[in-house]
Structure formats: structure tokens, C-alpha cells
Amino acid sequence: MAGLGGGPAAFGRCTHAVVRALPESLCRQALRTAPGPEVDFARAEREHQLYVGVLKSKLGLQVLELPADESLPDCVFVEDAAVVCEETALLTRPGAPSRRKEVEAMKRVLEGLNLNMIEMVDENATLDGGDVLFTGREFFVGLSRRTNQRGAEILADTFKDYAVSTVPVHDSLHLKSFCSMAGPNLIAIGSSEAAQKALKTMQQMSDHRYDKLTVPDDAAANCIYLNVPSKGHVLLHRAPEEYPESAKVFEKLKDHMLIPIATTELEKVDGALTCCSVLINKTSEL
């Protein structure tokens, strides 16, 4: 049984992943926090395919691939459209108006999984999945340009079992732009002042004590932890050629099976590893 019954031991368990192909419109129209070089679409696609391939072939997840939608340049970043925890899915109301329609496809695919679906309909609420960090014990929600208090409240109402604490996020797009879970009790965190400050806030708010894995680069702190039955701890992290120093830190995790994945192109439009999938642990087939 999922839910609290599963406990932290089940953290990182995952059976399904929802991903979405990237539209060509991404190159020019995707939102970005800072101007920069144009995205090399072909390369971005290759990287994404590698990403999906790892989830599918290497880790054996059932990957549900949504087709790209050219009218939604950011649609590859599926994470922002839904927060799934155990058997419950919250369809978000993304902070960027241009992205609100991304939720529709997400809704359809999640309905197919027979999850308890909650939709964020409040017009005053915004929430990007990228601002939601689930630690296995509680949620932290970054209050950022994309996510507001009301959105966090709705998340709290949706996942009533868990404490939901808010963390101000100022200098980056999302909370998870500089942190993520790298293990059942392990928070990967960037070294920037903002990241460290956010971490402290989280630690102050939590009744629980987390270990932390500090990596030199904020972007590299966004990694994907999975607990795969046949492989144990699995960590998808940014490739050494992108963030060599941070990769070294990850390489110290002896118990983890490490899978470096480059996200060079999508990073130009604020993409990171967690952004490109919604992970679901479907324990019961109803």
C-alpha cells in the first residue's frame, strides 16, 4: 500500500514516468530567465532521447511519452504541470500563462493511470511542479515567480498527510533549480548563497533532519533519485563534461548507481533533469 504506510523506505520507488517530446518552437520561444545562446534543437533532442532511454531501457520504467505541441514551447518540461505523490496527482496551474495548456495533456495521461486527481482551479493560484520538493516526509514549496502562496495552499490541501512548508525563492526560477533529493534522506543542494539560504530555511522548518550533499554548481544539484528494485539507489545527475566539479561530488556516493546525463541544451531555457519527467509510483492496479 502506498501512502504513509510506505514510509520513507519506499522513497524513490517509481513505476511510471511521463515525458513529453520537445517542440521545435522551444528553440526560439521557450521562456528563459536570461538571454543566451540559442538552443541546438537536434542536440537537445538527442539529449532528451538519451534521458528517456535511460528511464525506459536502463531503469525499466513504463514511460508514457506525450507528443510535442508546437504551440507550447515549454511543454517538454512536464514536471511543472503535475505533482504526483503516491496515488494522488495534483494538476497544477503553471505560473507562466503561456504554459497553462500544458496541463491538459498531462491530465489525460494521468487519468489513464487511475490516480486521484486534483485540479488546481483557483484563478489566484499558481504552482509550478519545479517548485515542489518532496522529501519523502514532507513537501517544500518554493515561493517563486511561478508559484504563489495560494498554489502552495492547494498543494497542502491535496497532500494532507504531509507538512507543506514554504521556502522563498528569489534568485532562481524554481526551488528545484538548485536542489533536489539525491537519496531517501539526502538533499542535494547547490553552493550559492541563495541555495544555502533556502536549505537553511528548509532545515529550520522541518522536524526531520536531512543529510545534505552540497555540490559546487546549483544546476547540478538538480538530479533524479530513483529506487529501482533490481538496481538499488539510482541517481541521474548532470554529466561531468557539464559540471565536472559537481560530478566528482556525486561520484563519491558509493551506494548509488550513477548515470550521468547531459542536459546542456535544455539548460539554456532553464531546463534541468527533474523538469523533463513526472515520476509515478503505481503500486496498485485498479
Binding site: 500500500m1 504513509l4 504506510g5 502562496q149 491535496t158 498527510d161
Partner: protein
């Protein structure tokens, strides 16, 4: 109002009789019942009778009245209390009467108001009696027999009161007799909820007024019994627990409701009547402290009651859960109460009579059934355990929520839980203050304040204020905080029964056992697992959803439980099996458990601290009501903020490294040498907040060893030491010094006195006496409560607490208190209680002092250590290690009573820091050796104390002197153990200065001076704790 209350009560009766839940519907009807009328008559008769009672009393002088009251009041305690304490008590007694008249405020104001109220007392007794009679009337539920009985006892009352002296002696017998009588009735009435109207009044030789109490139990049944009107809460609670066959009762409590949503915990140490005032004697048995890890409970029956409570909490929506969790918990409930799913017996609707959630859908029920099937084979006890394992992870488990507004008037909720205080806005957690971070909890009028330890690298405490709906609410919240803090954070050694009455100086203290104590006690439970039936949760009527009514929400409306069929037999067996396991587990833990608990907690804290948020948001968010402002000018505040910012900036620039914050480190150090890189900053702030510089911690002393414990703690300590790069040298003195001035010592304790403090804070101490009296006479609305976790530092798990005291405000308070003590003014009884105790203890100690043998005896004494007293700030600059005698003169010496040697605290804290252990550096090896030795001594001490084996602390004295760069705190403790008296002097010297300071030299100097000062003593332990700013971290 009378009618209203009466009818309400009546309703309950009706509903009980009917065995149905119609209570809400028929108030009017109920009030007309013949019974009711009869009982009223009876009441008024009684009222007449009883009104005559007070007359003699009122004629007598106030003081004699007090005495009299006292004698009847103090019964059980009396032999433990020195006579003048009793006197103080009497105030408390006498007062509430008039008070009740004027305002329906809490029973706790007594103290504050006692002085001003006295004159009125004489004039008002009659009224107050009427009031009392009214009270009776409200208890219309009481059966007629009761009435008659009480009438008759009322008749005898005057005589009794006249013969006060006699009464005292009689009390004991009377009680016994009553007990017998009551028990008889109990057996009849228990669980029936029915009221017997035709009882023959039983006249016991000494007639005593009794009142029928009803208690709604967690399984929805009602327990009723007769209690003497003056009975304390404890008596009722004990009865209930006995009825429930519950041994681990410290997690539970009795509630009474002022109105539908204002629940109050019945204070076991106080008279029931004075707490509930005119409310009906109707209580609800509830979980008060939710054990964070229910699997550590010893008995299944305890877990069962906890499950029942949680089921109520969940069904009523107080404990929110997701759909899935509702279903899961529901399925465990089914398994526990019905056993394995049986498709034949359990038809589709078998669960609809259970309530699993505030709003229960068909879908949920299906899910519950589905899950129920998967639990096949789980015994009821296992199902309960599983239920608890899931429930305890819910984020709102054990969180007691209170409505409040922040400084900006925004609605928030304050949640009190085992770990601290949580702040919610809507459903979001916006802040959290763990107990270790909270230095002080106080309230004034409808404001509630917490003073928070400075964050890393900050120098200032901040006080955060919240606005509660009213004064009562603020006080309630404050009490709950005090209780939770005490229960979950403190450790106290086993106490003899008197401890219940004596332990806490103020009424505003939790008087029960702490979790550590209750766990210890539970380990001793030696009985076969009691048989009990699981029933009940299914009787929760759904109609109650969201309609919490005053007394015991759903429970009143439940059917009388019928025994569950088949599974019961199996259950018994299972239960026993499990019970055994638990017992074994318990005994295994026994040795270490007292130690362990704190350790675990501490580890966590350590980590928290090291990673602590800098707290800026806290200031921003809630700081408008800051108390700080009391002693700071606007400029100061700005400066403060500026320096915080600066520090933060600096900190941010440096590598963020997990390092224990200053407080954390200091906790561990008795004798500390600190270097602050930012000397200027510090110095400039010193006047405002000398506190930071001065801390001292209790040091361990004592000399017998218990091998295992010793070993363990010794390396733990070692680890820590190095991690923090502090060398510990211990100094322990076994020489008895008689000069420790026992005579002049005062225990000043009480935090409850804040109002005075605040009034006084700006005044000269010379004006204190008058001031305090005026403030004490202030209205109840001005009542202030204050609680410093640190007061109990000795018993504290948390070392930090000892460091808190030094702020100016505090000092003034102390001074004031001392003044009060000295003058023996009629100030609040709270204050006096501790003092009295001390006095008594002193006496005992003296007696034993002669014997000089090594012995480990029981410590029968535990008291809060009021270190703050010792913190009297000497504005004169004393040179480093300013000599004790000199200081003595200036500072009012105090007796510090402690349950355990201060050492313990240190130890534990040290241990707690496991997370930060590192290798011992070679450089420190010699020191480490010394320390190891010390530890060997310390450990047994702790062990002994928890085992109930400890000395009596005769006196403790703390003297603090300061100069620009040093603060010396001298702590003299006198212990009597067995027949041996030991005096230990602990000196804490805090040297503040640049990196230039030669620490070794400073240490050498300090030791030398210490030796010189006490040539007849030996230095047994030296602990050096060095704290440096980041820049200097490389220094040894």
C-alpha cells in the same frame, strides 16, 4: 446562565439515559424534568446551608481564615511543606471566590491578585458561597442522592470548619472513608451513564460534600464517580485511569470545556472545583501528549487508547489525512475491531457504521474494505500498532492548534507539538521553532510571546509576539507550551509522590511526569497484559461531523458499546503475546533509556542548529510585537539589525560549512574561552545583551562509578570534544565548604511573575517592592505568564537553556524576586513555594551533613534550578575570576535546588552531538585524558540520578561577575548524598576577545586563580571551550 448550564447538563443526562445521541435537541425539555426541579430544590437548600458556613469564616480575621483554609487544603502536601508555604497556599484558596464573581478568568490569577483581593475577601464570602451553590446547581446531573448527601454534608460543614485544627488530622481518615464510599458507587455507575435517583444517602461518619463527576471516555462510554468537592484533579484522573486499567497514564489528561471549542486541561494538582468554576463536573478523557513513537509505549492497552483518540481526531477532521491514508487507517481499525475480513459475515455495509473520515464516501469505504482484506492475520494489537505507525507520520499528529494573529494581524495557527512550536498560515507551515531554539515563553493579556535564541552568528535573541483571541486563549496556549516543553524535553529523576506537589514552583508549571519519566516507569510495569475489549470506534456517529460540541465531541453521542463477538477471544491471546514482547523490549531499554532519549533528541538538535536558518524571515514576519523593545531603543534595534545583517553577509561569504552554532557549542562548555573575531561588535553590544558572553553550564560532579554507563558516555564525550575542538578539563571538588551561605539563599523562581517584571523593568531595584505589589494588584487581564525553559536547566535535556538567563530584563526580574523573597511580602504564592521548599531541603540537608561517609542515596529532591538568579549582573567590573566572597556580598545568593547534578546536563548535551564527532587531535590528548577521568565520575552520577539514586542538593549558588573581556560565573553546589556532604564549585569563565588572546595562558591563569581561591579544594575538572569566529577556526 444558571438555567442554561443546568439544562445543558440535564440534556446530557437525558441522552445518556436514552442511550442515544439526541443531546443537542432538547435542552428546554430537559430543564423541566421533575428530576431537575428536585435537584434544584436540593441545591437551593444546600445553598442556604452552605451559605451559613462561611459566615464564621468571614468573621474571623483574614489571616486566620487563610490558615484554616490552608489546613484543609494542604492535606496531602502539608507534611512536605513548611508552614509558611501553607499560608501562601491559603491565599490561593481564598481568592478565587471573589474573583469568580467579577470575572470568569482563569484559576491562575490567584497569585497575582492575591494581595489586592484580600480586603474584599472579608466582605464577600457570602456571595462567594452563593456562587458555590450555583455551581452545585449546575451540576444538576448529579443524582438526587448526591444532592441529599451533599446537603447533609453541608450541614456538618460549619462545625467542621470551626474545628479547623481537628480537620487537618481527620482529613486522612475522611478520605479513606470517602474512598470506600465512592468506590461502591463507582461500581454501580460506571459505564451505565445512568443516574440513580433513589439512592439512600450514605452518611459517613465525617460528612463531606461530594460531587458527581462524569468523564467521557475514549471509547464513548461514560464513567462517573463521586468526588469530594475539594478533590484535586489528580484524584479524578487516577480514578479514571484505574477504571480504564491504564498504567501509562501520563500521556493522558482530562479536559473540560468552557464552551464548545475552548478546551482546558484539568490541572491535576489543583482543586477541580476551582478550575471548572461554575461549569458542570463533566470531563473528557483524552490524550494530552501524543507520544512521537507509539511503539515505545509499553502496553497495548495504552496504544489502544491512543488509537481511539486518533480515530476521533481523524473522524472529526482535527487530524487531516489524505484519502489514501483515511482508507488505510480505516482498514486497520476494522482489522483491530473485527478481525480478519470475513466475506460471509462482513457484508458490503458492514463498515458504514464506522467513521473513518470527516466525510466518508462510498469510494472510501470500498477502499477500506479492499485494504481490510489485505490485513488478514494481523492481531488486533498488531493492527493497532500499524495504525499508529501510519498515524504518527501524519504531519499534524500530536499538534495542538491555536488560532492567533501575527504581528500584522494575519490569521495564523500556532501548533504546539512534541518538538516545538509550529506556525501555520492556512495549511502551510511558515515557521517552526524547535524547543531548543525557544528561550522563553510568555504571555501578557492576549499576547503570546516567544523569545528565540539567536541564529547562527547572531547576537540577539528575538522575541516574537502573537495575538490570541483573548487573554484566556493566550494563557491556554502558554500552558500547553509549558507542558509540552516539560513533558517532551525535560528529564526528571524518579520522584517520590510528594514531588508531584513540590516539583514545580509555580502553578504555571507542568506537574506531571515527563515522557522520560513515564517511559522509565513504564519499564517497570510488571503485569500480564490486561484484558480489554476493542470496541467503539464504530459508534462514532456520523452526525457529529464537523459539529464538535462542547463536551467530548462525538463520544457523548455514541451508543453504549456492545461487546464485539468472535475476535475477542483471539485478541486476548494475541495481546498477551505482544505484551510480552513489549515488556522485554522495555527492559532492554531500561538501562539506557533515560540517557538515550535525550541523546536522540539532541542529536537532532545539534544538526538543526548547525544548519539553522538565519532567522531573518522570522524577524520580518512576526517581529512587530517584539518584547525586545522593552529595553531597547529604536537605535539599538537598528544597530542590532545592522549587525545581524553584517554577520550574515560575512557568513554567507565564507564557505557554508556545517558547524555548530555558538549556542550549541557553548552548551557543551562549562568553562569557556571564547574568542570573537568581531570584538567591536560584541563589545558594543555587551550592554544590551551581556547574555551571550556569559554562559555557564552545570558541571558534573560526583564520584561513584557505574562502569558500563561510564564507558559509554566517556567516549561519546570525547568524540564531541574534539569535534568541537574544545578541550575539557574538569574541576571537581569534594571538600565540604560550609561557608556556602545557606541562610541567605533564596530560590527565586518563578516565571509567572512577568507582569511585575515588566512594570519594573525600567525602574530601579530599590523601588521594586512597592512596584511589584501594585502590579500584582493589577487586573487579571494583565496577568502575565512567563516560562523559561531554562529554569529547569538541570533537568533539561537541553543544555542551551542554561544560557538564556542573562538578559537585562531577566536580571531585573530576579532582583525583584529576590527582594520579594527577602521581604516576605504577600506576593504571589508561586514565588514562595519554591523558596519554602528550599528551606525545607536545606534543613534536611543540614541534618545529614554531619555524617561523612561515602554513600549514594536517593535523591529525593528535585527542583528547578534557577540559575538565572545567579546571573545577577554586576555592573561593576570585577576582575577576571573575581573572588567569590566579594561577589557574594553583592549578589543575593540563591539556593538552587536540582534534581540532578548539573553534570548530567552537560553530559547529555555532549553526547547529543554525535553527528559532529571527529577524531581527537593529538594536541588535545592530555586534556582529553583529564576529561576522560572526569567523565568516569560523571557518568555514574547521571546514572544514579535517573535510577533514583542521588544526593540531595542542599544548596547551589551562582555568582556572576563580569569585566570587559571576561565573565566569571561561579556555581557552588552543595550536595548531600547519603550522609556525605559535598561541595563543588564550578567556575565558568568566559573570556571574550581578539584572536590575540593567549588561551593557554588564560586557562592557566584561571586554574591558578581558582586554586588560590580555594586552597583546600582540588581541581578535578576543567573544561575549555573555545569558540572562535570563522576566520579563526584554524586555531587549535
Amino acid at each position: 446562565m444558571m438555567t442554561e448550564v443546568g439544562s445543558e447538563t440535564e440534556v446530557k443526562k437525558d441522552s445518556e439515559q436514552a442511550g442515544a445521541d439526541k443531546a443537542k435537541d432538547k435542552p428546554e425539555e430537559a430543564s423541566d424534568t421533575p428530576e431537575n426541579q428536585k435537584s434544584r430544590k436540593a441545591f437551593s437548600e444546600e445553598a442556604l446551608d452552605s451559605s451559613s458556613v462561611p459566615v464564621p469564616t468571614s468573621q474571623s480575621s483574614p489571616s486566620s481564615q487563610k490558615k484554616e483554609k490552608d489546613s484543609s487544603e494542604s492535606k496531602g502536601i502539608s507534611r512536605f511543606l513548611p508552614p509558611w508555604l501553607k499560608k501562601q497556599k491559603s491565599y490561593t484558596l481564598a481568592e478565587p471566590k471573589d474573583e469568580a464573581k467579577k470575572k470568569a478568568v482563569g484559576e491562575d490569577q490567584v497569585i497575582e491578585e492575591s494581595e489586592c483581593q484580600l480586603p474584599e475577601e472579608v466582605a464577600q464570602p457570602k456571595k462567594s458561597l452563593e456562587e458555590a451553590a450555583t455551581e452545585n446547581q449546575h451540576n444538576a446531573k448529579a443524582d438526587e442522592k448526591e444532592e441529599k448527601h451533599s446537603v447533609s454534608s453541608a450541614e456538618t460543614q460549619p462545625a467542621k470548619e470551626d474545628g479547623k485544627e481537628m480537620e487537618v488530622e481527620k482529613v486522612a481518615e475522611e478520605k479513606e472513608e470517602k474512598q470506600v464510599e465512592k468506590e461502591k458507587r463507582e461500581t454501580k455507575e460506571v459505564q451505565t451513564g445512568e443516574i440513580k435517583t433513589e439512592n439512600i444517602p450514605q452518611k459517613s461518619p465525617k460528612k463531606i460534600k461530594t460531587v458527581q463527576c462524569k468523564v467521557m471516555l475514549l471509547d464513548g462510554t461514560e464513567y462517573s464517580c463521586d468526588l469530594e468537592k475539594r478533590a484535586k484533579g489528580q484524584m479524578l484522573f487516577d480514578r479514571v485511569c484505574e477504571h480504564l486499567n491504564l498504567l501509562e497514564k501520563d500521556y493522558f489528561g482530562l479536559l473540560f470545556y468552557e464552551n464548545s471549542d475552548q478546551k482546558n486541561w484539568l490541572d491535576p494538582s489543583k482543586e477541580i472545583k476551582r478550575q471548572i468554576r461554575s461549569l458542570p463536573w463533566l470531563f473528557t478523557f483524552n490524550v494530552k501528549f501524543y507520544p512521537p513513537d507509539p511503539s515505545q509505549l509499553t502496553e497495548d492497552i495504552t496504544r489502544y487508547f491512543l488509537c481511539l483518540q486518533l480515530r476521533q481526531d481523524i473522524a472529526s477532521g482535527r487530524l487531516p489525512c489524505s484519502f489514501v491514508t483515511h482508507a488505510l487507517l480505516g482498514s486497520y481499525t476494522l482489522q483491530a475491531e473485527l478481525g480478519d475480513h470475513d466475506p460471509e459475515e462482513h457484508h458490503s455495509d458492514y463498515i458504514s457504521e464506522f467513521q473513518f473520515a470527516p466525510s466518508q464516501t462510498q469510494e472510501m469505504e470500498e477502499k477500506v474494505v479492499e485494504l481490510h482484506r489485505t490485513h488478514r492475520g494481523l492481531t488486533p494489537a498488531q493492527a493497532d500498532s500499524q495504525f499508529l505507525e501510519s498515524a504518527k507520520r501524519l504531519s499534524m499528529y500530536g499538534v495542538d492548534l491555536h488560532h492567533a494573529k501575527d504581528s500584522e494581524g494575519v490569521d495564523i495557527m500556532l501548533g504546539v507539538c512534541a518538538n516545538g512550536l509550529l506556525i501555520y498560515k492556512d495549511r502551510l507551515r511558515i515557521n517552526r521553532f524547535a524547543w531548543p531554539k525557544i528561550l522563553k515563553i510568555s504571555y501578557k493579556r492576549s499576547n503570546f510571546y516567544i523569545k528565540v535564541r539567536p541564529a547562527e552568528l547572531e547576537q540577539f535573541e528575538s522575541t516574537i509576539g502573537f495575538k490570541l483571541p483573548n487573554h484566556r486563549a493566550a494563557k491556554r496556549l502558554w500552558k500547553v507550551c509549558v507542558e509540552h516543553h516539560t513533558f517532551f524535553r525535560l528529564i526528571s529523576p524518579e520522584q517520590p509522590p510528594k514531588a508531584k506537589f513540590l516539583t514545580l514552583g509555580s502553578k504555571f508549571r507542568y506537574s506531571g511526569r515527563t515522557q522520560a519519566q513515564t517511559r522509565q516507569a513504564s519499564n517497570l510495569i510488571d503485569r500480564p497484559a490486561p484484558y480489554f475489549e476493542r470496541t467503539s470506534s464504530k459508534r462514532v456517529s456520523r452526525s457529529l461531523d464537523g459539529a464538535p460540541i462542547g463536551i467530548s465531541d462525538q463520544s457523548l453521542l455514541r451508543d453504549f458499546p456492545t461487546a464485539q463477538g468472535g475476535p475477542a477471544g483471539d485478541k486476548v491471546i494475541d495481546i498477551e503475546g505482544v505484551g510480552q514482547d513489549k515488556l522485554k523490549e522495555g527492559s532492554r531499554e531500561e538501562n539506557g533509556s533515560p540517557v538515550k532519549t535525550p541523546q536522540l533528541e539532541l542529536i537532532q538538535d545539534g544538526k538543526n542548529n548547525s544548519l539553522r536558518v538565519d532567522g531573518e524571515n522570522i524577524y520580518v514576519r512576526h517581529s512587530n510585537l517584539m518584547l525586545e523593545d522593552l529595553d531597547k531603543t529604536q537605535d539599538d534595534l537598528l544597530k542590532h539589525q545592522a549587525s545581524i545583517n553584517e554577520l550574515k553577509r560575512n557568513f554567507m561569504e565564507s564557505t557554508p560549512e556545517p558547524r555548530p552554532n555558538e549556542w550549541e557549542k557553548r552548551r557543551i562548555t562549562p568553562l569557556s574561552l571564547q574568542t570573537h573575531g568581531k570584538k567591536e561588535d560584541y563589545i558594543s553590544q555587551v550592554k544590551m545583551l551581556p547574555v551571550k558572553e556569559k554562559q555557564w553550564t552545570a558541571m558534573p560532579w560526583i564520584a561513584e562509578a557505574k562502569p558500563e554507563e561510564t564507558d559509554k558516555s566517556s567516549h561519546e564525550t570525547l568524540d564531541i570534544v574534539e569535534e568541537k575542538k574544545q578541550a575539557e578539563v574538569g574541576r571537581e571538588e569534594t571538600v565540604v565548604i560550609d561557608e556556602t551561605n545557606k541562610g541567605k539563599m533564596q530560590v527565586a523562581t518563578d516565571a509567572g511573575e512577568t507582569c511585575k517584571v515588566e512594570h519594573l523593568s525600567k525602574k530601579d531595584s530599590s523601588s521594586l517592592p512597592s512596584d511589584s505589589s501594585s502590579s500584582s494588584s493589577s487586573e487579571s487581564e494583565d496577568e502575565v505568564g512567563e516560562y523559561q525553559p531554562h529554569h529547569r536547566a538541570i533537568e533539561e535535556v537541553i543544555r542551551e537553556e542554561q544560557e538564556e538567563e542573562e538578559d537585562t530584563n531577566r536580571k531585573r526580574e530576579h532582583q525583584e524576586k529576590i527582594m520579594q523573597h527577602v521581604e516576605a511580602t504577600t506576593e504571589g504564592s508561586k514565588l514562595n513555594v519554591p523558596v519554602e521548599r528550599t528551606a525545607q531541603v536545606t534543613a534536611e540537608a543540614l541534618v545529614q551533613e554531619n555524617a561523612v561517609t561515602i554513600a549514594t542515596e536517593e535523591k529525593n529532591f528535585s527542583e528547578d534550578m534557577k540559575q538565572d538568579l545567579g546571573e545577577e549582573k554586576e555592573e561593576e567590573q570585577l576582575r577576571l575570576n573575581g573572588d567569590v566572597s566579594h561577589v557574594d556580598i553583592d549578589v543575593a545568593p540563591q539556593i538552587i535546588c536540582c534534581s540532578e547534578p548539573p553534570v548530567v546536563k552537560t553530559e547529555m548535551v555532549t553526547i547529543s552531538d554525535a553527528a559532529q564527532r571527529t577524531e581527537i587531535s593529538t594536541k588535545e590528548v592530555p586534556i582529553v585524558q583529564t576529561e576522560t577521568k572526569t567523565i568516569t565520575y560523571e557518568s555514574p552520577q547521571f546514572d544514579g540520578s535517573t535510577g533514583g539514586n542521588a544526593g540531595v542538593l542542599l544548596s547551589a549558588q551562582t555568582i556572576t561577575s563580569e569585566s570587559i573581556s571576561t565573565t566569571t560565573t561561579t556555581h557552588i553546589t552543595k550536595m548531600v548524598k547519603g550522609g556525605v556532604s559535598e561541595t563543588r564549585i564550578e567556575k565558568r569563565i568566559v573570556i571574550t576577545g581578539d584572536a590575540d588572546i593567549d588561551h593557554d595562558e588564560a586557562l592557566a591563569q584561571a586554574i591558578k586563580e581558582a586554586k588560590e581561591q580555594h586552597p583546600d579544594m582540588s581541581v578535578t575538572r576543567v573544561v575549555v571551550h573555545k569558540e572562535t569566529e570563522l576566520a579563526e577556526e584554524d586555531e587549535e
